[in-house]
Assembly symmetry: C2
Homo-oligomer: 160 residues x 2
Amino acid sequence: MNIREATKQDFEAIWPIFREIVKAGDSYAYSKGTTKEQAEKIWLDTPGKTYVFEQDGHILGTYYLKTNQAGPGNHVCNCGYMVSAKARGKGLATAMCGHSQDIARKLGYKAMQFNFVASSNEGAVRLWTKLGFETVGRLPKAFNHPVHGYIDALVMYKWL
Amino acid sequence: MNIREATKQDFEAIWPIFREIVKAGDSYAYSKGTTKEQAEKIWLDTPGKTYVFEQDGHILGTYYLKTNQAGPGNHVCNCGYMVSAKARGKGLATAMCGHSQDIARKLGYKAMQFNFVASSNEGAVRLWTKLGFETVGRLPKAFNHPVHGYIDALVMYKWL
């Protein structure tokens, strides 16, 4: 497995992946205008853990893991995954999601929740479903998609 | 209507309400150990807006309003309401929720979402339902209740 914890230095390689995905505006709930500095805070500094998928010295994917809600909700974690355009369709998201579940269990989390999956993102919904996540919520018109306009966002959840 | 925007000075009166509710651990996703300083940041500094319900010079209730998700989700806001124990059952939550919807519309939000309503909090669920919120998600065992253990949390939502 080519997945390891991210270092501060890795952000130079994470940033182009982040920028490209966020700029598309069709999957992540981050502003298109997110600066590099803000992105580093969001992806690397704020979450409890951040990992990278590395192959032949190149970072092709990354994910973060953090507590989803404090206090009475702190046994549930949240993750976000990003794969470089050039590395899609090769199972990186599957590998990172499996890895993140192992890490989550080791850290004592009991469940994992995705708060805001664009319903138009069929590939992601299909993949998370295959990996055992259940669609437990549907937020009407909560996602403003650049092409489709206001579409539903899904909440997906897995007890680990 | 005795509802006005909160000032920094108001936090002295907000803190006992916040502390009491969070210490109970049965409604809000904040750590029981939240300090006064952290609470001020959570309730007063981070949200876009914070209001207080004042009567005869006493602050009896408070709520915050903030954007729930950035970027493609930034047309949906999130609110949290707290009422002092001595002022419950007098319609303060109803008044504050109505007020917050007006403010949300004025600020250009199109919907309001409650992310984490303890399913055991029947009074709150009944009230939000009466005020037009729909239960759009059910997070299995996501709320660790001090008496009931792991119970479901609800996601409630209203298009404004």
